[in-house]
Symmetry: C2
DNA sequence: CGAATGGTTGATAAGACTCAACTGGTGTGG
DNA sequence: CCACACCAGTTGAGTCTTATCAACCATTCG
């Protein structure tokens, strides 16, 4: 982690990107900008560990982060991938508890940090903040329930289909948010099985995948697979 | 569903049981009691369907509820079981959105209903309410992440172990919160596989299970299984 | 250049699913 | 009151998918 020293204007620009802060007035946003620090992380750096006191809110400005836990036998289990602009561990920070998971960058990333104290200070005059948090958590909850739904799918091919659909945002082309290995983990598959599932979909002509770039070639075919398996 | 007509005192008693309301003063609690309705549900009744507008908060007072979704191929997937006292679909209600899942009783149940309008009214004078909601959602999030973790476990026996541990609350004896069929679904297993996993644990002498009653006979053995698989 | 890493492919084996039969308990209707 | 159907749960046998182990390729990085 490196701490950068950008002007407050630059930081204000980042603050403006964050949905949590969008309804705040300029004075408050400036206050946040002044009381924030900007850090850059190399790929593989940890933002925090499970069990750390959640005293600082991490806001992902650029890059990508993987959030995961370890199961008792030592295996890592990815819970989700975050892309900017994203709050990371916001519930733990606002509750003043410990982070319940690990956060690690999956690529070079830019992170804005704001202390819990600063957040509580602006919340005092902006009571809409907790409601916004409720909204984010509601979304995350829906996201998790979608993940559980995906895990309920039996076949590897189906899981990959569901996943591609969910991250496509109805676009025909997009990039995978993380290395295939990590995505396989997220989907509860071995890298080998993920690879094989992808190659089945490619041979079908449903998709095309080179490196991290995905092209949906036959949307209907994906839908069919979802309804059958 | 039957609407009961208890006195306001009785309803106040139920309001007093709900953690969300514990910090409120008597006047506010009475207001809630007066503006609530008490309903009884038979086993198998639906509290709400996925897609229903979340205009009323359901609070489980007695009984048990299963929350689930349907995956596109038609299969049902249980997300969690709720036991009293529990808010059901609270995030959707406070956000004024649609319920994102189905809620169905798994036994005869008693439910207190409070309208969104009433809740918003008391929130105006009790700004701690949204923070409490954040707290509940945080817990639910942790619960979901634990579920995802459980699904990551490969073997059926391990999943059952994790599950039994998590609902035991470190007690030696307890009852299953739902029919085995439903629990199997929650664990992402077929009823047959669940049954077999249980019988393995019984033959090991790790547990004893008759009908719905579980006795943990060898706690260390469960721990071992968790660390190995 | 050599090592390490991410990804693919092949062969095998283990585990869960499927289908089927059977039990015991519950509830219904004649 | 009994015969019957029905449902949850268990057990058995066979199949099928995925994990596993291993080899291999391509790329990156020191």
């Amino acid at each position: 982690m490196k701490t950068l020293k950008p002007s407050n204007d630059v930081k204000l620009q980042y603050v403006n990107m964050v949905p949590l802060f969008e309804s705040l007035d300029l004075k408050t946003k400036t206050f946040l900008a002044v009381n924030s620090t900007l850090n850059s992380f190399d790929k593989g750096d940890f933002l925090f560990n499970s069990g750390d006191p959640a005293s600082v809110l991490n806001i992902l400005i650029r890059g990508g982060v993987s959030v995961f836990v370890y199961v008792p036998n030592g295996d890592k289990k990815v819970l989700h991938f975050l892309k900017p602009p994203s709050l990371i561990g916001e519930a733990a920070v606002f509750m003043g508890e410990e982070f319940p998971a690990y956060a690690q960058t999956i690529e070079e990333s830019l992170v804005l940090k704001i202390s819990r104290a600063t957040l509580l200070e602006i919340t005092r005059e902006n009571p809409q903040i907790p409601w916004k948090i409720v909204g984010f958590l509601f979304n995350r909850l829906k996201h998790f329930s979608h993940t559980i739904e995906t895990h309920a799918r039996k076949s590897a091919v189906t899981r990959v289909c569901v996943y591609l659909q969910s991250i496509s945002g109805n676009k025909k082309q997009f990039d995978l948010p993380a290395p295939k290995k990590e995505i396989a983990n997220f989907l509860g598959l071995r890298p080998e099985s993920f690879s094989r599932a992808v190659s089945v979909l490619q041979k079908n002509g449903a998709i095309e995948l080179t490196d991290s770039h995905v092209i949906i070639k036959n949307c209907d075919m994906l839908e069919e697979i979802l309804e059958e398996n």
